[in-house]
């Protein structure tokens, strides 16, 4: 009896030990599977990333890179990258990379869209030699200069900052809350204005008129070709059905109440042509600062300069709600250094200019001549833009999904 009992007892213990051993054995196998899976997935991911880099470089070098499929063998695995256009009208491209290693696949999906200058809160090709960003300067939204960024104080940049050159620290320290990147050159095109104008409907093209006064008046637009002639009135939606107004070889004076989405492009390289003068406040019918659902949007696209006119209307503040683009010139104020103090430029939008232009003179502890600045980025420009606004010639990554 005692022998049988001990046998059952020992068999019971053996069963317990074997069960526990089996569990440990399975745990070891699962741990191994986990390690192998981690390794395979990491390898597949880097193989997919390799394919992404190889193809995205093609797109970087040639924005017109045609759609296609690219196959690569790398690191004992393989990758298939498909470049496709998913929206031909807006030229939105997709990159789909599938990396494979040891029967493990990783997929990376990237969506890119053309990069437009309108997205910048501030863009310049050159910052000039002695213009600094100082403690009083705060920039919201993306910032780029192809030159050096001079810091003299404690400016704050809320969006991403990129520079073609380098940061020059005169004194102080800038705060880059959205990140900072060097070595990026984004050339201003030489045909940005004509490219916009090329999209204008015949009804919205001015030719042979060297001087144009154009007023936005909500649903309508009026214009004339000197200060004494009668105005011509047009319903804005029929005058410029796709939103583009183009003045060839002209000087355009603009002001008014913008209702809808428009781009005003002005070409010309001689005399005073190719310039847009802002004669008075130009503002949105529905102010996006108080009503974020506003769809009003304006692009002022000049071949040379966008200038705040020196006139009575602009002697005590000026409101500008627009995305400004000066292809070969600057955004500046007329007679900025000789006119009296004229108040504040209340700009809501963004500025792209070839060379940073002056709008006022500092003296006596404040602004002695011209304007002080109150620039605020229109954050709608991150996702929307005035019609056919000039492009940077490259893409931007909209999403990167791994």
């Amino acid at each position: 009896m005692g022998g049988k009992a001990s046998l059952f007892l020992i068999l019971g213990f053996s069963l317990i030990f074997m069960t526990a051993g089996n569990h440990f054995h399975r745990m070891a196998l699962e741990t191994t599977d986990n390690a192998v899976s981690y390794y395979n997935q990491s390898k597949a991911n880097y193989i997919a990333n390799t394919g992404v880099n190889m193809v995205i470089n093609k797109l970087f070098l040639d924005a017109a890179q045609v759609d296609g499929t690219f196959n690569y063998n790398f690191d004992a695995g393989s990758c298939v990258v498909t470049l496709s256009t998913i929206n031909a009208y807006q030229n939105i491209r997709q990159l789909l990379a599938v990396g494979t290693f040891n029967n493990t696949t990783k997929t990376i999906r990237i969506v890119l869209k053309p990069s437009l200058f309108s997205k910048y809160a501030y863009f310049s090709n050159s910052e000039g030699t002695n213009i600094n960003w100082t403690t009083a300067d705060t920039v919201w939204g993306p910032f780029h200069t192809n030159g050096d960024l001079r810091v003299n104080g404690y400016p704050v940049f809320h969006g991403k900052v990129s520079v073609g050159g380098k940061e020059v620290k005169v004194s102080g320290k800038a705060k880059y809350l959205g990140g900072f990147q060097k070595g990026i050159n984004i050339a201003i095109p030489t045909n940005g204005v004509t490219a916009v104008g090329g999209n204008a409907e015949a009804s919205a093209i001015f030719t042979g008129k060297p001087l144009i006064y154009l007023d936005f008046r909500g649903d309508s637009i009026r214009y004339r070709f000197n200060t004494t002639s009668a105005w011509t009135y047009k319903l804005a939606s029929t005058f410029a059905p796709n939103g583009v107004i183009y003045a060839q070889d002209a000087e355009v004076h603009v002001r008014g109440n913008v209702k809808g989405q428009y781009s005003l492009a002005v070409s010309g390289t001689s005399g005073s042509t190719g310039q847009i003068f802002i004669d008075d406040n130009i503002y949105y019918n529905t102010d996006p600062r108080t009503n974020p659902s506003s769809t009003d949007m304006l692009g002022l696209v000049a071949k040379r300069n966008v200038i705040i006119t020196n006139n009575a209307a602009n002697n005590s503040d000026v409101v500008i709600q627009a995305s400004v683009y000066a292809e070969t010139g600057s955004f500046t104020a007329q007679n900025h250094d000789t006119r009296p103090y004229a108040g504040i430029i209340d700009l809501y939008g963004g500025i792209t200019q070839k060379t940073r232009g002056p709008v006022g003179i500092i003296g006596g502890g404040g602004i002695s001549n011209g304007f002080s600045k109150r620039y605020r980025y229109d954050e709608r420009l991150l996702v929307s833009y005035p019609p056919f606004f000039p492009g940077c010639g490259s893409f931007e990554v909209v999403s990167w999904l791994e």
Partner: protein, 175 residues
């Protein structure tokens, strides 16, 4: 207790002893396997960390502060690695991707301590950066291109195999 019962008891004891030995051997194997897998995972993590640290840097020393328009403007093949003033012991000061090439002949040793024990594991990493062909990333180029391959190998005395990870980093930027 009769002779038969005595025999049964002795047999049972032998069976139990064999079972315990087998299970114990299994535990030791499991422990070894789990430790090996632990090293594997840590090695892959270390390799991944090194690659991620490298690809957050500018593509080339020549693109750190300026854009380039031709591969010939990039660092020459023979100069891939750290520049004057940089130290392989201070990777935080590296300013471009190929600075990690400095690890290729002199393995960088990383120390990992296990939390809660006195055990310390030493992982050595060997990194090599090369230009690769624009048409085939598996082919090393003898001239600068817009594509660089980083190869990371991680090994440790406790690891049976060397972990090898690799990826290609190309020159591009979109804003």
């Amino acid at each position: 207790m009769g002779t038969g019962q005595m025999m049964l008891t002795v047999g049972a004891m032998l069976l139990l002893a064999m079972t315990i030995l087998t299970v114990n051997r299994g535990f030791l194997t499991t422990d070894s396997s789990m430790m090996q897998n632990r090293y594997d995972i840590m090695s892959v993590s270390l390799a991944t960390s090194l690659i991620e640290a490298a690809i957050r840097l500018p593509f080339d020393n020549k693109t750190d502060g300026a854009a380039v328009t031709s591969p010939s403007s990039l660092t020459s093949v023979s100069a891939l690695g750290i520049e004057t003033g940089e130290s392989r012991n201070l990777p935080g000061d590296f300013n471009d991707f190929d600075d990690y090439n400095c690890y290729k002949t002199n393995p960088k040793i990383d120390t990992v301590s296990y939390s809660g024990t006195n055990r310390t594991a030493f992982f050595s990493s060997l990194i090599r950066v090369d230009y690769v062909s624009a048409n085939d990333p598996s082919v090393i180029s003898t001239v600068p291109t817009y594509h660089k391959r980083i190869l990371v190998k991680v090994f440790t005395p406790g690891l049976q195999d060397t972990i090898s990870m690799s990826t290609v980093y190309s020159y591009w930027y979109f804003r």
